[in-house]
Symmetry: C2
Subunit: 268 residues, 2 copies
Amino acid sequence: MRHIASRDNPDYRGWLRLAQGRPGRHDARVFLEGEHLCHAWLESKGLPSVLVVGESALSLDWVGPIWAACARGRRVVLQDNLAAVLSQVEHGPAVFFIVETPAPEPPARITAGCLWLDRVQDPGNLGTLLRTAAAAGLRQAYLSDGCASAWSPKAMRSGQGAHFALEIHEHADLSALARRLDIPLAATTLDKAEILYVKDLRQPCVWLFGNEGQGVADDLLAQADWRIRIPQSTAVESLNVAAAAAVCLFEQRRQQLVAAVRARTARQ
Amino acid sequence: MRHIASRDNPDYRGWLRLAQGRPGRHDARVFLEGEHLCHAWLESKGLPSVLVVGESALSLDWVGPIWAACARGRRVVLQDNLAAVLSQVEHGPAVFFIVETPAPEPPARITAGCLWLDRVQDPGNLGTLLRTAAAAGLRQAYLSDGCASAWSPKAMRSGQGAHFALEIHEHADLSALARRLDIPLAATTLDKAEILYVKDLRQPCVWLFGNEGQGVADDLLAQADWRIRIPQSTAVESLNVAAAAAVCLFEQRRQQLVAAVRARTARQ
């Protein structure tokens, strides 16, 4: 059993950087903490690269089976005071997974409704966008360079489990991917746009949302099939990007639900 | 002209606490920074209690008229290095308003659609909720004890001007206010709730949203006329509170717009 008791241990220092949302430059790993996230990982992806457990947490009921399942070289006990520093949650049991950032392969053709984000900078917004997309029933998210890291602790906290319900493609070249689309690309913009509520959204589309201050980049916007705007009061300039996405994604969900109910009624 | 050059000046220390979102216990003042917020205040409320300007910002075109309009005892020049510490914005001109927190009187009867928040803790969520409410055309917000401070720098940043489009009632006793309602009280909950999209929302209502983890408190929920849920995928447990509010408020806006268009068409 590997046991770390020094704060100068290089592995420990690397985990601490991950936990604090400041990974090393080429570090593509993710830090997961606590029962909820660790179980979500186990269910959707399997065992972690490394299981790190604080001394006192080793005796927890739910930890035993995971500990037993991990190979010897992939499990580490941490002295409690070091584990407390690593923990980003107050009073949480010190159980951590270190895992490789999922890097799914983009499909040859995109045929399912999904979320595209262009340089969304705030990790809280990004996590909320993923959570909203998952709640709306989408299954894939594509994030351009310049987006906040989807797997940072902050974005994970805002995501509330959405990371495990979605296939997340980071560093996606959205302009290039636009050529793989078999469904419309819908972007929200205030300029030369149709009103959301007059748009027929029953078929799937790609929803593209842009940077908090600048919106969707011009070259990407030029590739959009639909330019959509949410009819809002002029009391404020715009909606927060995650709020705008919630309005659009759930308007589509509404139209799809209404259509499904009508189809069912017609059959009866 | 008053000129402050010492970081030990008690006024300066009080402003710094306000700027950093940690006001003294009985300090009911608000710190506003920059051209956009200061102008918004001027337009909606008038002159500030104190105008604070960094030495270098004193010569800015837009500052001159405000400086001239403020009484002598209510304007202060700050040495540039102190102003830089006070500033929460990178490279922004050092122009600050210190103002009294608006404390509007609640009406005897509540007849207009408005936003009620029960213990929404995160200042970012709170600001986004206000922004969404203003964008949806609401004009009043009532915030219970236990909500984040609406006028903290963080909530102001997320609000993006909504604070000046809304009448914000902080420390509101929502249970007591429920007895002043002439319109339905609508709360979102997952328990024994009607689906949002089957609800007739053409008439105004009060929208009540609750704490990020716990939702609306039971005693308040018991006072709700409508219990509403957003039909979402089970991939995540729930929506972020600000996302849920965006969906509800804009579904109401959609129904009202559709009704207005139909009424107009019928008249023609």
